[in-house]
């Protein structure tokens, strides 16, 4: 991942970026929670719901900076191969039989990716205030990551055949 690069962010822009990241991350966790509910995977649904709530809290805080989220793209961040914003869980990682451990591992990846992104932005930002903001954010994401890592360590490893489909998919229409 390349981040920041020559891009010069104003403080205002940086807040917009932050808001977009947190907002999108929250929406995504909600979406995943919905999916798990529809598929009767209650434990993972509530976990995603919690994650969504955390991200949304951040977003709401950032929103007080008066930013809009229209059309922020990974490529605006020069994130190279990544298709989505750093904290957003890719939809195609969901599975209806996924376990809380899977969900946390996914959240961990998101946090780590976000942390790396901010590290890179902090390293590259020419503007002091932005640099500081980015460094703060990086630290926060590292902290989140550590928390999740700890929580994950407390969970049992999912069984090897966790995704074995005991009920064949059904015909429809």
């Amino acid at each position: 991942m390349t981040a920041g690069g020559e891009r010069r962010y104003s403080v205002q822009e940086f807040y917009a970026l932050l808001y977009a990241m947190e907002h999108e991350a929250a929406e995504r966790y909600d979406e995943l929670a919905n999916q798990m509910e529809t598929h009767n995977n209650a434990p993972v649904a509530s976990l995603f719901r919690e994650l969504a709530a955390i991200e949304r809290k951040h977003a709401v805080k950032l929103q007080s900076h008066g930013q809009s989220v229209q059309a922020i793209r990974p490529r605006d961040l020069l994130l190279g191969a990544s298709f989505e914003l750093p904290e957003t869980a890719p939809l195609d990682r969901a599975h209806y039989l996924m376990t809380p451990a899977h969900a946390l591992a996914l959240a961990l990846e998101n946090e780590e990716q976000a942390a790396r992104c901010f590290d890179a932005l902090a390293a590259a930002a020419p503007d002091d205030e932005v640099r500081k903001l980015a460094a703060d954010m990086a630290a926060e994401e590292h902290r989140h990551a550590a928390l999740i890592r700890a929580k994950l360590a407390g969970l049992p490893e999912p069984p090897a055949d966790w995704d074995q489909d005991l009920d064949p998919p059904r015909f429809s229409e």
């Binding site: 598929h39 039989l97 009920d167 064949p168 015909f171 429809s172």
Partner: protein, 576 residues
């Protein structure tokens, strides 16, 4: 045990749980084990709207003799979990005599079920499974149900082994979990009456859709073209492996227009051919069906009926494609419509349809429904049918060959491409005896007469209907209503009602004289069918002479017809 049921000694089990909980697997193994234990049985499935996951229910009925439909109530409802299980409430009627087996850790029994006042049997499926390394709650459930059904541990083990053929750890933990489930039931001290068992040897287990496929192959079908559609796809999937092994072919077509026309092409070429679909696909086939009528091409079209109209309820059953099957062709287009009257009958009914299509050079429709097609039963190995005879083929170098010659029987020899001296052009335009397009009134009438005549003169032998019992009242029905009607009649007979059962296997051409004979001396009939508008009854009025007072019980799907509701109607409408 269904104490209401004088006819069938049976026990009904429902297993519910959310997707991935393995209720279908457990149900399948239970049926298999029961079969190995010398019981007969039936299993059908139900599930939520999700493609995968969501919630699922396996519905079983085990019995001493062959069962073809569900009863009125379930003896046991077992829930691996209760997620969205309330959606199945109308499909799983329970009462005060039922047992509801649930894991207390999964919460209370939902209102939709607890209201019945059944005896709640808490079994901590999850906790029990946890104690077994790699154990799963559905295998505990299997053990519990096996114990309730009176199936021995060894037999259950054999059923598990047959599914988990790879063996290893998974097998070991499944066996252990199953045994723990049996133990839990013993501990809970609940039991059900024992079913008398017969001889497992020689029996089969088969779904209606597989039986349809096999009926086609037995009948000689060697070419199939089709487009997937629920609930007919399993016929195709079974045939796609089976056909090549007997020298036949299956082609997946781009759509139903193509599939039926491919089948027509192959049949024109001399190879008995079939396509299978459901309502929406059948709609797309009626133009070509008319072509097969006019050009006199033998052809079998299986329509596994589902809920309609339009896309409707693809995964549920209804008998409402009767109208389109009988009348869906433009112009006067006589053809054959055959309906199996049970899951097992899918085999002989389809085989007979092939026979009729080939003999009469006409398209024959076969109308099973979702409840037959997608249910699995245990039955004695089906006997071979003595259906010889087939297509009347023209001899090489027939002098002055006329493909559509006006024979007394209406059947004219059909030349096989490749044969010298009998080349002709098959045509969907009205034609002369030679097949040359004609708009002359004489040719039109002659060919219309011929096409009607061959169906009128055909010998439909005893297959045309199933006729059972004696009495001055009768139930007239067809298709998947037959089994619950039979059961309802058995109860009524036990209560002293003398009644006949007439179930039509041949729907078209109508056999009014035969029906009149079957109903001779009957003073009142009850027509039973699963449609909203009473299609079958209207057809009986249109094409038959109903000799007596007629009452009707018709209702829409998707819930299966129950013996009990039919029994009440019999009591109300016939016994009075």
């Amino acid at each position: 045990m269904n104490r209401d049921n004088a006819a069938i000694q049976s026990l009904s089990f429902a297993i519910v749980g959310s997707g991935g909980a393995g209720v279908m697997t457990a149900g399948q193994m239970l049926l298999d084990a029961a079969a190995r234990a010398g019981l007969c049985g039936l299993m059908s499935r139900s599930s939520g709207p999700q493609i995968r996951g969501g919630e699922a229910a396996a519905l079983l009925r085990l019995a001493s003799t062959q069962v073809e439909s569900h009863g009125d109530r379930f003896d046991v409802l077992l829930a691996v979990d209760w997620q969205n299980a309330h959606r199945f409430a109308s499909e799983i009627p329970i009462d005060a005599r039922s047992f509801v087996v649930g894991d207390p850790a999964e919460g209370a029994v939902p209102e939709a079920f607890s209201a019945a006042g059944a005896r709640i049997v808490p079994v901590p499926l999850k906790a029990i499974a946890k104690k077994v390394p790699g154990g799963r709650p559905n295998m505990v459930a299997l053990g519990a149900l096996g114990a309730l059904a009176g199936i021995g541990a060894e037999t259950l083990a054999r059923a598990i082994e047959a599914t988990l053929q790879k063996g290893g750890e998974a097998l070991k933990s499944s066996l252990a979990a199953m045994q723990a489930g049996m133990a839990a039931v013993a501990e809970a001290g609940v039991s059900l009456p024992r079913l008398a068992a017969g001889q497992a040897a020689g029996r089969w287990t088969i779904t209606g859709n597989e039986a349809t496929g096999l009926g086609a192959v037995r009948g000689g079908v060697r070419f199939v073209a089709a487009y997937p559609i629920t609930p007919a796809t399993e016929i195709l999937e079974w045939l796609s492996s089976a056909l090549p092994r007997v020298g036949g072919t299956l082609v997946q077509a781009e759509d139903e227009l193509a599939s039926i026309n491919m089948a027509i092409g192959a049949s024109y070429g001399g190879v008995p051919s079939l396509t299978a679909t459901s309502g929406p696909g059948l709609s797309l086939m009626t133009e070509a069906l008319g072509l097969a009528v006019a050009a006199e091409i033998p052809l079998v079209v299986v329509d596994v009926m589902r809920g309609g109209p339009s896309t409707g309820i693809p995964t549920k059953s209804e008998q409402a494609d009767l109208n389109i099957a009988l009348y869906g062709l433009h112009g006067d287009a006589p053809h054959v419509v055959v309906a199996p009257n049970s899951i097992a009958d899918c085999l002989p009914a389809t085989q007979w349809a092939v026979h009729l299509a080939e003999t009469l050079q006409v398209p024959a429709l076969v109308l099973p429904d979702q409840s037959m097609g997608q249910s699995r039963i245990v039955l004695e190995r089906p006997a071979s049918l003595p259906l010889a005879g087939a297509r009347l083929v023209a001899e090489p170098e027939t002098a002055n060959y006329r493909r559509y010659a006006l024979t007394p029987s209406g059947i004219s020899p059909m030349a096989r491409p490749g044969t010298r001296g009998t080349a002709y052009t098959a045509d969907g335009l009205e034609h002369s005896e030679r097949g040359i397009p004609s708009s002359q009134a004489g040719d039109h009438l002659a060919q219309l007469d011929k096409r009607a005549r061959k169906l009128d003169h055909a010998d439909y032998s005893r297959y045309w209907a199933e006729i059972e019992g004696e009495g001055d009242v009768a139930v007239v029905t067809w298709g998947s209503c037959t089994a619950p009607v039979r059961e309802a009649l058995a109860r009524a007979r036990a209560e002293g009602v003398k009644a006949r059962l007439v179930s039509l296997r041949l729907l078209a051409p109508a056999q009014p004289e035969r029906l009149a004979a079957a109903l001779a001396g009957v003073r009142r009939i009850l027509v039973v069918e699963q449609t909203h508008s009473g299609q079958f009854h209207r057809y009986l009025r249109a094409a038959f002479d109903l000799p007596c007072e007629t009452r009707v019980f018709h209702r829409a799907g998707p819930l299966p017809m129950r013996p009990g509701e039919i029994h009440s109607k019999i009591v109300k409408e016939l016994a009075a």
